[in-house]
């Protein structure tokens, strides 16, 4: 606890505000938002008390705001072309990537990169539609938490590729959210179950959502966890189970091609029937179609299990594969976490229990578990928790630094720093009047540039000419949560700046990283020697440069020819030693530097006296003795 001081009445300082951050599960069927407040994590509900926001957006006309959620879902049957659902399947995809696209009653427009949909309000991309959902969640959270959000952690399936992740980020930006991090859904689920702190061992995260199936094998040890394997089916989810019931209804009523309205209505009925069968053994399906035909059917749990047996089996195939990829057997799995509303289906639960030979974890609401984990992560990333409780999710595998004089590496971000992170350090110029500086970005643990991996370089130009060492150049290394490094250099007095963005882990396999580390350990002693040598060489060169500059300026004035010759001799001696190199020259280098310093001491003293005299010339004594502060 911080120590408090007594304040004047009414003037107690307000403590720094809680930084509002949320976790968002942007789902295919439903989306949720959760947050940590007063130390507790909970999903944020809307005014009606609903935690789930159906991921459905209805466009009315270009002037009116889109309707999102239940109100839009209710219109799905009546206005199928303008009411968009399961849009997550289209994120970052083009038309031919998407399965079952013919069952979506939308007017697709295939654009390069991503499919778009023609609606009453114009052509909408999946990014724009997702942004509507995210915006609704953001407003809900801001209303509930009473302030604007610092940022959000948004979850994505482990399977999402770069295009899909980027599309998700774009959608968040469009919705006015700052993305603190994109988090894999299984990771979020593990965090929610507290597996990161409470348990050690290997866990399986079985996530059957509305539109995607993911199985992830995570290894947890002391708060750090490692993804051993992921697998899944990007086009398998609760929607497919609905589809089966829907097809069964069509067959049972011999309805060949229902109108879009009827198709929507029947799909909605199919979904309700599926949900009902998790608690009852039979459920009625009744509806009146647009042609006044009425449907009256009864679906039993046995029939439903039979209809979907192959879908259930399809979840086990990737599961087996993930285990095999991780070189594990079912017996190695310590626990199974169920995620996604579709895991409420009894056929899924029993299949999972049978496969893993243990009942799965179901304490948390499978719909909420991902959002809760994301909220916990958001809370940490927003800086609301103690540093030592930092949840170590991602680290940068190797140190990052830049090249300094003498071919040495100055490390800016040490390895194993949790990301995102930013570090800055000040550098200066080496030569008088130096107007440009080359920033060479390096990765690795070794001391010499030649032993590290070059990531990129850029030049900072336009530095105002100054004497060596006077310029302040601040170099900032920043790694964002997605591992993207950006390096910027800024000269403080003139404000000139240069920046480069780099993907540091690009093209480096785990074993290469391991090799680089091993080299660093085995080469530690040699590296230290080499660093000392190079540092002394740099110091020597700096000394020679400074002496030369001084001689050129004042050599004639203050030095007799023999004195000059003596200094020149020491300079040549030092230059020779620098030239020779070799590990054994460190001592002689130091000695030569000292000798040159010694030889120029008298010269430096005379120069100093002269400049003091210059400074004082023509001034009255009063001006000088006035209390002018002496600057160091």
């Amino acid at each position: 606890m911080a120590l408090l001081q007594i304040a004047e009445p009414g003037l107690s300082a307000a403590p720094h505000q809680h930084r509002l951050a949320v976790g968002i599960d942007l789902g295919t069927t439903n989306s949720l938002v959760a947050s940590v407040f007063s130390g507790e994590t909970a999903v944020i509900r809307d005014h009606g008390g609903n935690a789930l926001l159906p991921s459905v957006v209805r466009y009315l006309d270009p002037e009116t705001e889109a309707i999102v959620g239940d109100a839009a879902k209710a219109c799905q049957s009546d206005d199928p072309h303008n009411t968009l659902s399961s849009i997550k399947r289209l994120m970052g995809r083009d038309l031919r990537d998407v399965s079952n696209i013919s069952d979506m009653p939308y007017a697709f427009v295939d654009a390069t990169g991503m499919v778009s949909i023609k609606t009453r309000a114009g052509i909408k991309t999946p990014v724009e539609v997702s942004a509507e959902i995210l915006r609704t969640l953001r407003l809900r959270a801001e209303a509930a938490l009473g302030g604007s959000l610092v940022g959000a952690v948004i979850t994505v399936p482990a399977y999402f590729d770069d295009a899909q992740r980027q599309a998700t980020k774009d959608a968040a930006q469009l919705a006015g959210l700052t993305v603190l991090r994109l988090l894999n859904e299984p990771t979020a689920a593990a965090v929610a179950y507290g597996l990161d702190t409470a348990s050690e061992g290997i866990f399986a995260i079985f996530d059957l959502g509305g539109g995607t199936f993911d199985i992830s094998i995570l290894k947890l040890s002391r708060g750090v966890f490692e993804v051993l394997a992921t697998n899944g089916d990007a086009a398998l989810g609760g929607d497919d189970f609905d589809q089966r019931i829907y097809e069964w209804i069509l067959t049972a009523t011999s309805l060949a091609t229902p109108s879009p309205q009827d198709a929507r209505r029947l799909l909605t009925l199919a979904r309700s029937a599926k949900e009902a069968l998790s608690t009852t053994t039979t459920t009625p399906i009744t509806a009146t179609l647009s042609d006044q035909r009425s449907i009256c059917l009864t679906l039993s749990r046995e029939k439903f299990d039979e209809l979907c047996a192959d879908l259930v089996a399809r979840t086990l195939k990737p599961t087996r594969k993930a285990l095999r990829d991780a070189s594990l057997t079912v017996d190695d799995i310590k626990g199974v976490v169920l995620v996604g509303g579709s895991t409420r289906m009894l056929s899924i639960r029993s299949a999972v229990a049978e496969f893993f030979k243990q009942p799965p974890l179901t304490d948390l609401d499978p719909d909420q578990v991902v959002a809760i984990g994301a909220a916990m992560q958001a809370n940490v990333l927003a800086g609301n928790r103690k540093g030592d409780e930092w949840l170590l999710l991602d680290v940068c595998p190797l140190s990052l630094g830049l090249e300094t004089m003498g071919g040495l590496v100055e490390k800016i971000i040490p390895r194993n720093s949790p990301i995102p992170t930013a570090r800055a350090q000040e550098f200066t110029t080496f030569k008088d009047g130096q107007t440009a500086m080359s920033v060479h970005v390096l990765q690795g643990e070794r001391e010499l540039v030649s032993d590290c991996r070059s990531l990129g370089r850029f030049d900072l130009r336009g530095i105002p000419p100054m004497v060596a060492g006077a310029a302040h150049i601040r170099v900032t290394f920043q790694i964002d949560a997605d591992g993207l490094l950006s390096v910027s250099a800024r000269e403080q007095s003139s404000g000139i700046e240069a920046t480069v963005a780099i993907k540091p882990s690009y093209g480096l396999a785990d074993n290469q990283i391991a090799q680089m580390l091993e080299d660093a350990y085995s080469g530690a002693e040699a590296d230290m020697q080499m660093r000392m040598l190079r540092e002394n060489q740099v110091e020597g060169r700096r000394l020679i440069d400074a002496t030369e500059a001084a001689l050129a300026e004042d050599g004639e004035k203050f030095l007799s020819p023999p004195e000059r010759a003596a200094i020149a001799q020491h300079m040549h001696l030092l230059a020779d030693i620098i030239e020779t190199g070799g590990d054994d020259t460190i001592k002689s280098l130091k000695a030569a530097c000292d000798a040159l310093n010694q030889a120029t001491q008298e010269f430096a003293g005379r120069r100093m006296d002269a400049s003091v005299k210059n400074a004082l010339a023509g001034q009255r004594l009063d001006d000088i003795t006035a209390p002018n502060p002496v600057t160091a």
Partner: protein, 106 residues
């Protein structure tokens, strides 16, 4: 129901009050911290009519009835931690504290 001062805290407060004037020390809880609540410690020049009064080692503590449940049983200490010195709340109601230690939850 009570809030107390340790002897060292009381001495400190008395020194302050002797220098500055005032009738006592106001201890309150504000609901605006990053983990829920935050303490407020102020000199008191006047008492509100709802204030509860506690005497501890000769110092009058003024606490508004809404704050009391959160800090009931608290002992206020004056401590030195490294270069820092200040008042520390030993509050038995606290369940959770934020990282910076500026606020707490019950």
């Amino acid at each position: 129901m009570s809030v107390t001062l340790t002897e060292s805290a009381a001495k400190r407060v008395q020194t302050f009050l002797a220098k500055r004037g005032g009738i006592g020390l106001r201890v309150a809880v504000k609901t605006s911290g990053c983990s829920g609540m935050a303490y407020a410690l102020e000199f008191a020049d006047a008492a509100d009519k709802d204030d509860l009064h506690f005497e501890s080692h000769g110092v009058t503590l003024l606490i508004d009835p809404k704050s009391l449940p959160y800090i009931n049983g608290t002992e206020l200490d004056f401590v030195r931690e490294g270069l820092n010195e200040g008042f520390k709340f030993n509050n038995p109601n606290v369940k959770n504290e934020c990282g910076c230690g500026e606020s707490f939850a019950v």
